[in-house]
Subunit: 147 residues, 2 copies
Amino acid sequence: MDLNYLMDTLRSNGYKITEQRKAILQVLSDNSSSLVSVEQLLCEAKELNKKTNITTIYRNLEIFEKLDLLYRFVTEYGVALYKLACRESSHHHHIICKSCGKTEVIDFCPIDTFKHLSEDKNFNLTDHKLELYGYCDKCQYKKKVKI
Amino acid sequence: MDLNYLMDTLRSNGYKITEQRKAILQVLSDNSSSLVSVEQLLCEAKELNKKTNITTIYRNLEIFEKLDLLYRFVTEYGVALYKLACRESSHHHHIICKSCGKTEVIDFCPIDTFKHLSEDKNFNLTDHKLELYGYCDKCQYKKKVKI
DNA sequence: ATTCATGCAAATGTTTTGCATGAGC
DNA sequence: GCTCATGCAAAACATTTGCATGAAT
């Protein structure tokens, strides 16, 4: 994901470009192929800018999310994980590696299959959530669960 | 869901049947068609047994979950919601009302559709999560979001 | 110069834990 | 009587907020 696009979006929405913001965006960008926790984000952002503070992380994640720059995901244990949102992203689902957190986008959506089922149940279907879990290429033989 | 079955399961696993446990199970049973939060559970359990304590709720939810009596669900805001697990439950998904939390089971699973997609991506697929959201029969015209 | 962003500390909310007491078998 | 379950208080986390200071425009 393009850092310039991210910063332009911030600027055009009246947000200033600070060193901390740059560091956070850089970390998110470096990890754009997997989901990162706040803890990991803080840790890696500190490497880029020692001054980065946890409060700043939280405040910025909220902003990035509001601007649709960030995809927020909550694991079944209630832990929030983040990943930059694809700019061109239309509706899609993810396949997530349970070991390293790597995510891939799956364009196919099976939701139409459920349309008639929900009608049968008199549910007015508005949203859905589908996530596939497994082990990616590299992790298939070490299967150490991190998420 | 049958309270006797629940208590038998507890007993046969070495757990005692206390008034608090009965109250918690009763509340879960009364709400078996929707997801309840810990807060709601505490509130309703207190009506049945004033002595019921939040710590006891947490400890028991953990036990029930471990015995597969309870289905635990985490919303996108990280809030845990619970519902008794169906005894005969095989693999299935849920359709969840965003207003009242009512849930219905959907037996159909589209996961086979993704088998070849995950192979293309060299992902060894092990789990998945699918939830449908909408408004049930009764809530379609009041659409007040609670979950 | 003005406004927004940050850091610190404190507050909040949720869940967990230690320990003494009490209830179930 | 023994064991497990409970209640209380405190601890452990994750996240949010108030406020004064500092950086970006």
